[in-house]
Symmetry: C2
Subunit: 239 residues, 2 copies
DNA sequence: CGAAGCATTGAAGTGCGTCAACAATCGTGG
DNA sequence: CCACGATTGTTGACGCACTTCAATGCTTCG
């Protein structure tokens, strides 16, 4: 079940068998979570982080008026709140989109692992910095890209990340987001997200059906999005 | 000259005199940089990070079409690319807005410091996670706030951050951004940034004059922005 | 003093939001 | 297996926040 996480790491780093075992040992416990549950609330004091073993989560910030902005979508293998290891409380909520399996990683275990193996410490620091890079791309999307470019970009990014985690088969991947949630990622209204989705379909770029996405024309989609995966740091890292 | 950085740290952590000296020892060299220089380019291989001792920098991402989105504004005391310590190359450029004094911090020194003092390692990890929190607030701004709310929010944030660094006097602070650069932070056109600025002035909230900002009505400004500094982690951290 | 950048203004256009209704799908219990 | 209410998706009409284009004055600084 931790394999998605290991795949994500192996994409970027050489790991010894011993290190992989250490990493597996981080998970003290695992939990099943129903869809649409808020798992961590902004401000909660934390002494564990959540490794998403299977399913979909989002981090989101809510406005007083009730509007919500999703700051990042998480897929199997992602640490949802590794930054909580240093921040000790979050500035956002974490909620489930689908049924999820979540690995509980006590901060004490992280600390002791990083003491024994500082290389892994730096590796996990890298992961939080990669999340920040994803944030920056999101800032670029929201600040400068049109609705259709943003949406195309999101599908491009998710496809790559899911592929790395071993969760995409051919040109398809499971996709539990409703159009409301999609609009909350993209800074749009539901109505406009719906129309934008139709436009992508009309252009024969993606099909977004019942809980599934099919990329029809990947090159075309990437062209619309001006997608460049550089910010995902997919190549082997020196460290 | 490193005092702004130490102020920023002392706001959040207790530092021993020995630790402060270690931190001062990080800076191998310092450089003066003219305004409007690109100091680091996306993709450059890095083995040093830049500690902004004095002045203003931005990180920005440029689109093929030439539009630019500023992802974060940096003031005295900020590490502009500490995340480069783990990423080894950036997904964005770093450019100067004003004349700057920049401390060069070799990654080798960071590594050796963190080996000797893992607490400081975690502290700097915290700083990069704080930057990510600022990114998330920016995502919320761009996704859900109107032009005037966004602009008000930016001024609120900068005021707090400058105060912490000891760079705000009373209700004023130096402000080298042109309206174009302001618009590039906020995901607006220059024209609309200009009109929004006028609206803030008309409402008697801020005055933005020749290279200086004066906060006229801080409470009013924070109300427009719905500003809550929680995401800046201003209180003392446990670690 | 002149050129180049920066700030400001007006008029017109548009991408996306808002409101409101309806259709399709889903989950649940009877 | 059907009935139902609730959630999700879709559509149309209309409005507005922000953009675009273009012109003009205002600084700043060689």
């Amino acid at each position: 079940m931790i394999s998605a996480h290991l795949k994500k790491l192996r994409q970027r780093f050489e790991l010894s068998a011993a290190e992989e075992q250490e990493i597996e040992g981080l998970v003290a416990d695992s939990r099943q979570v129903d869809p649409d549950q808020t798992i961590v609330r902004a401000g909660d004091k934390l002494d564990v982080s959540l490794l998403l073993l299977d399913g979909w989560l989002v981090r989101h910030k809510d406005m007083p008026g009730g509007e919500r902005q999703i700051t990042e979508v998480h897929v199997s293998g992602d640490f949802a709140d590794l930054h909580g290891y240093t921040l000790k409380k979050l500035d956002h909520d974490v909620s489930s989109l689908s049924e999820c399996t979540i690995g509980i990683v006590p901060h004490a275990r992280l600390r002791s692992l990083f003491e024994r193996n500082p290389r892994l410490g730096k590796l996990y620091w890298f992961l939080t910095n990669m999340d920040a890079a994803i944030h920056r791309e999101q800032i670029l999307s929201l600040g400068r890209r049109s609705a259709i470019e943003r949406m195309a970009h999101l599908f491009c990014e998710l496809y790559v990340r899911l592929e790395v985690a071993g969760c995409a088969t051919g040109d398809r991947f499971a996709f539990p987001l409703t159009q409301r949630e999609l609009s909350e990622c993209l800074g749009l209204t539901v109505v406009h997200a719906n129309r934008t989705l139709q436009e992508l379909r009309r252009r024969q770029l993606v099909e977004v059906g019942s809980r599934e996405v099919r990329i029809i024309d990947r090159a075309g989609l990437e062209a619309v999005a001006e997608f460049d995966p550089e910010y995902l740091y997919l190549d082997k890292q020196p460290i």
